[in-house]
Symmetry: C2
Subunit: 338 residues, 2 copies
């Protein structure tokens, strides 16, 4: 998902796979292998020994153990060290994959491992639950959400944050007047020089379907769109450490805000078309169901139905690639102060 | 290389990586892991248990051991078995990666392992040396090349063959009158119902540079273009086992011939642009060479130079993707009878 999304926006990608699975975990059963920390280190050393580490951007995502998170951290640090003399020549986007919806789905020691490396990242992309884990603040309102972002900026000195898929309606009753229940809100922020956040929000219509891999799609598209926005801003910005815009740039004019709007527009079209294709596939497979043996056992029937629905909801990325390159949906970015 | 090439032509790809290396082997040093036969089997079982094996096409390439070749063979056979009742609904393209330029670069037991599975494949893509290994015929002339292809059709009952990058000029002096020395010839054939070949050839200008991964690019583009050519032919063809055209279709009108012309056109533009980019990169890195420590040791200096030249020649696929989708070069296919 991430590799193809970046490639279709023109990035040459060296993919270091931290797992090699038969399918995504939404199927609730999977076979395959996880990379050990040593394997991750070896691959990076392979790149080093042949002088192949001249990367502009590192996107790090799911790592299958605390040791693997550490190994990825070492890679990020090494790339940063090499770029020290050329501020802005390297940028690290870190997706701290730890859990969702109140549940940690990695080993518990992965959380402290992330806490150790995050202060080296330039942009992190936690979901609401991961933002809680990192900030130590329970997000129950718009106020506590802003507090959590402020705390993450401060605690980890991370200059850019995007909190993906916040359901404001469940957070704060007052929000429901501006955002209908079927709306997802994405909140982002780039710090000012005093460390305070510049908050922006983008509301997008929520789709009534669970898709796997949307976090990776978001991260991958953000890689390409953020770089593009920085390169079309004041030329000084691309030579500024961590691409932090001067304080005079308002939240809605931040490259991060501009990138987010484009990323969400691409994703909305891809997912809308995926949902249409899913519905059609489910209709067709129901019609052709007599080709399959009927499961007599209720548990087996339910499992088969879950697999069928999960496959039908696989994101149709390749056939909708035009929406990655040329987003058509139009979303608005608003400055946000709680 | 193969995954992105197929994806950019609209294929949804499930990539089962048989190796996970830091770089291609042209660098002459590499770190990473090879999949065991068991790992390959496990991944496929993972797909099976979640009903994810409804593939139209299998492209199999490099496998790191004889046991891995066997495991890939089992996958091909299983997919074929599932499609038995619907002729033409599954097609297996097999690239028998064993060696090049007179040298076997896999374990010796990989050769007999390939010989066992090739008779199940629909299309194989040997280079000149691999065609010799499979046919047991030393290719020293146009005559022996035709003999080798005829023998492969017959021995393995493979309906389609493309022999990639034949240097006819080194094979047969008489050929040099039609093909200048800087020409590569690609020879293909689809059998007639009596098992005899229908031979065609395409001559393309050779580029003076060694590129890694062109075999994978050729195979991947052939997947998409062959399917496209079959689907725009007589509708009966796509329901015919192995997509073998009726005897009335001449060599130059074969879907395989039409696909080959498009594939070579795409590749020529990608590689021509890669060569330009390489030359520029080599000029720039020579100019900026003072940034690097000077190797005092001659051996170290030569190694560093090899790595620099190999990196500079990395195929620029992502930025030339438009040539994959819309080939501009025009090559001609000729019927060929030696």
């Amino acid at each position: 998902m991430a590799t193809f999304a970046m490639q279709s926006l023109g990035c040459e990608v060296a993919a270091l796979n931290t797992v090699h699975f038969s399918n995504h975990t939404g199927y609730k059963q999977v076979k395959g292998t996880k990379a050990t920390a040593q394997e991750i280190r070896d691959l990076y050393q392979g790149l080093q020994q042949s002088y192949l580490t001249d990367f502009d951007i590192l996107l790090s995502g799911y790592a299958p153990s605390a040791a693997a998170v550490e190994a990825v951290g070492e890679i990020g640090l090494d790339l940063q060290r090499k770029a020290e003399k050329k501020p802005g020549s390297f940028f690290w986007i870190l997706d701290p994959v730890m859990g969702d919806q109140g549940r940690i789905y990695v080993n518990e020691d992965v959380v402290p491992a992330y806490k150790k490396i995050i202060h080296h990242a330039d942009l992190i992309l936690p979901n609401q639950f991961e933002a809680e884990l990192l900030s130590g603040i329970k997000i129950t309102s718009l106020h506590t959400l802003a507090e959590a972002i402020t705390a993450i900026h401060k605690t980890y000195s991370v200059p850019h944050i995007i909190v993906t898929s916040v359901q404001l309606t469940t957070l704060d009753h007052s929000a429901s007047t501006t955002a209908p229940p079927s709306t997802l809100t994405i909140i982002g922020s780039t710090t000012k020089s005093d460390g305070t956040p510049r908050l922006f929000r983008v509301d997008v219509p929520a789709l009534d379907c669970f898709f796997s891999g949307t976090g990776d799609m978001f991260a991958a598209l953000t890689v390409a769109r953020l770089r593009e926005a920085v390169f079309s801003a004041d030329p000084a910005l691309r030579h500024t450490k961590s691409w932090v815009s001067p304080d005079s740039v308002p939240a809605t004019e931040l490259p991060l805000a501009k990138a987010t709007v484009k990323v969400l527009a691409s994703m909305h079209s891809v997912l809308e078309n995926t949902m249409k294709a899913r519905d059609e596939e489910l209709r067709n497979s129901a019609a052709g169901a007599d080709e399959e043996p009927i499961e007599v056992n209720e548990e087996a029937r339910q499992k088969r139905e879950h697999l069928r629905r999960t496959k039908a909801a696989e994101v149709r990325l390749v056939r909708n690639v035009k929406f990655l390159r040329d987003p058509v949906a139009k979303f608005e970015v608003q400055a946000w102060s709680e």
